[in-house]
């Protein structure tokens, strides 16, 4: 029984950052998806949405927690009256959401943990410890929530963790804390290529003090317009931390030379090379996240110092990272997920590990702006 109402988080979205950045009122933009494939999915879900009726508004209002949804009830009633209306869907049933960026706090534990559930594929590891590391670093890292959300749901988290910094409190100096150890073991285990393995070993071994793990997870339908400020904020915080942290040791721990990124992609089963389109017009790689496309794109290693992909063990279960307050979007996601699965039958889910030189980050930021702000 599919849920009937798909809400897109459309513009206007105001990005409020109480501490550093000024308010940036945005223009009315269409939702931008970052690949032709993604766009076709967005079109498919729109047309599907137009043909269904809408459920009772009372239940909607109970689920939707934000206060900026006053226009919403009227939208639903309109839709009931014109149930077969077509696609003037720019403003009908769209939700206005004010996203706010916060520093990570210990209270965000459950939300961040939910976002990181499949970070290392289906490995059982000390995820709680890892989340504690992220939340214990309020100076570098951002958590995205909705303003005045009753449920206080976390919609995205980004952070940069120095893998060489976290040592187990029980032993003296030399052993890493449990979650970092398990993470490193996982990375070394999934690497099949000997050449890459050598590089990876040095990154997590002798050069680990200069490596920052770039953690960036979000709910599936988070508007991509949030990404440039999110990443800009993160890299600026890293810069500031190299000056503002209380001890010299902490300051130098943020002078990253490399960023390590763990992510997921879909690779076409027949793809021999890593990029390019196949003869029937299908793309060889589909990215879950736009920034991966930028990092992964350049074959000559302009961005990626290291690149490895590994077979994902467990992607049959549908893991939805939407918070309870927006439960309706879970169902819409599931329906579009079914469409996705039909179209993805030729693709294999893969995990992706990339290492990027820190000096190239400024051009990454530019490219991200170009990609998203168009």
């Amino acid at each position: 029984m599919f849920f009937t109402f798909f809400l897109q988080f459309m513009m206007p979205i105001r990005v409020l950052q109480p501490y550093r950045m000024p308010r940036k009122p945005k223009k009315n933009n269409r939702l931008v998806t970052f690949s032709p494939f993604g766009r076709s999915i967005a079109m498919a879900t729109r047309s599907w949405r137009a043909t269904k009726e809408v459920e009772k508004p009372e239940r909607q209002n109970k689920d939707l927690a934000t206060s900026s949804l006053n226009g919403f009830k009227d939208n639903i009633k309109d839709k009931i009256q014109q149930s077969d209306s077509s696609d003037d869907e720019e403003f009908e049933g769209d939700v206005q959401a004010d996203f706010v960026f916060f520093d990570p706090k210990p209270d965000d534990f459950h939300g961040v943990k939910l976002l990181l559930q499949t970070y290392l594929d289906n490995l059982q590891w000390d995820l709680s410890g890892f989340v504690d590391l992220i939340l214990g670093q309020p100076t570098v890292g951002t958590v995205v929530k909705i303003e005045n959300d009753e449920d206080d749901g976390v919609y995205s988290v980004v952070s940069a963790l120095n893998l060489g910094r976290y040592k187990a409190s029980s032993c003296f100096l030399f052993c890493d804390s449990k979650c970092v150890l398990e993470l490193k073991d996982f990375l070394l285990k999934v690497c099949q290529d000997m050449y890459v393995l050598g590089k990876l070993k040095s990154l997590v071994g002798e050069h680990v003090q200069h490596v920052g793990l770039l953690v960036s997870q979000r709910v599936v339908n988070l508007p991509p317009q949030l990404l440039p400020p999110l990443y800009d904020g993160l890299f600026e915080e890293v810069e500031w931390a190299t000056e503002d942290e209380p001890t010299k040791e902490l300051q130098s721990s943020f002078r990253f030379r490399f960023y390590l990124i763990i992510s997921k992609i879909y690779k076409h089963k027949n793809a021999d090379q890593n990029r390019g389109t196949l003869k029937n017009g299908e793309e060889s790689v589909i990215y879950n996240r736009p920034e991966d496309e930028i990092f992964f794109e350049v074959p000559s290693g302009m961005f990626s110092v290291l690149l490895l992909s590994y077979q994902c063990a467990n992607l049959t279960s549908i893991k939805c990272f939407c918070s309870l307050a927006h439960g309706h979007s879970v169902f819409a996601y599931m329906h579009s997920r079914l469409l996705l699965m039909r179209q993805l039958k030729n693709y294999r889910p893969m995990g992706l590990v990339m290492a990027v030189e820190a000096c190239k980050i400024s051009s990454f930021r530019e490219q991200l702006h170009l990609l998203i702000d168009e």
Partner: protein
């Protein structure tokens, strides 16, 4: 200081990195159901602890793994939602002891685990449950049924867990409500959290009269509250329990 003369009867575990053990398992005094899938760790923890006392059965309900939230039961019976498949029903009937009546019921609210919370004598149910369902619960489970809310939540099955010895309820339950519930249930109750501040008690904790399993995120403080209210320690009561007893309403009649 407390003296432990037996190993702690608390097990902290997780199912696929998820600490909601009450979602993927159903534990009673006569049997234990565990969801299929996930690593063997989850199943083997239950087995190691319980296998020589009660049967531990792997199953799915309605093809899903969230069996703890879909079914409700005690030592006398097990109630299954209408979308349980015939094979699952047969499998459960075969695997569970004959003393346990396994019944599939036609009820609109199919997440029975969220709607019904029970021990071997009393059950609390969702206020909107059908009359026939209420009668069936009383018959099959052999309990007295009360329609109640817990801290204003109608999903009583999610927000409280109780055994024949004690119970844990939603942290925002008022003293009057605690009083009232404790009188109905005839066991001491305490308002608390599980899994590091989560208020969905039944998702993070499953109990029998002699043991309890909770999610691995549960803090030491939460654990000590659970151990005290469910009387899981054989050692003599510590000061903590004595203190707590003042705020617990003991209504042994």
């Amino acid at each position: 200081m407390r003296l432990y003369n037996s190993k702690p009867d608390e097990k902290r575990l997780q199912y696929e990195n998820n600490c909601e053990v009450g979602v993927f398992s159903k534990l009673t005094n006569a049997y234990c159901l565990v969801a299929i899938g996930g690593s063997e760790n989850f199943y083997s923890t239950f087995e190691a602890e319980l296998a020589d006392v009660i049967p531990v059965v792997k199953t799915s309900i309605a093809g899903t793994r969230i069996i703890g939230r879909l079914c409700a039961g005690n030592k006398k019976g097990l109630l299954l939602p209408h979308n349980t498949t015939d094979q699952e029903l047969q499998h459960l009937r075969n695997s569970l002891p004959d003393s346990v009546v396994v019944q599939r019921i036609e009820e609109r609210l199919s997440a029975l685990g969220n709607c019904i919370s029970c021990n071997d004598h009393v059950a609390l149910t969702h206020p909107d449950l059908d009359k026939e369902t209420e009668e069936l619960i009383a018959d099959v489970l052999g309990v007295e049924v009360f329609r109640q809310t817990v801290a204003g939540n109608i999903l009583v099955g999610s927000y409280c867990t109780f055994s024949n010895i004690g119970g844990l309820v939603h942290p925002h339950t008022s003293i009057e409500d605690l009083d009232e519930l404790s009188t109905l249930l005839q066991v001491p109750l305490v308002a608390g959290t599980v899994n590091r501040g989560s208020d969905v008690i039944a998702a993070g904790l499953t109990v029998t009269d002699w043991t309890a399993f909770c999610g691995s995120d549960t803090t030491a403080t939460e654990l000590s509250v659970i151990e005290s209210v469910f009387k899981l320690r054989e050692a003599k009561p510590s000061a903590l329990v004595d203190e707590m007893r003042k705020s617990l309403i003991d209504t042994y009649v």
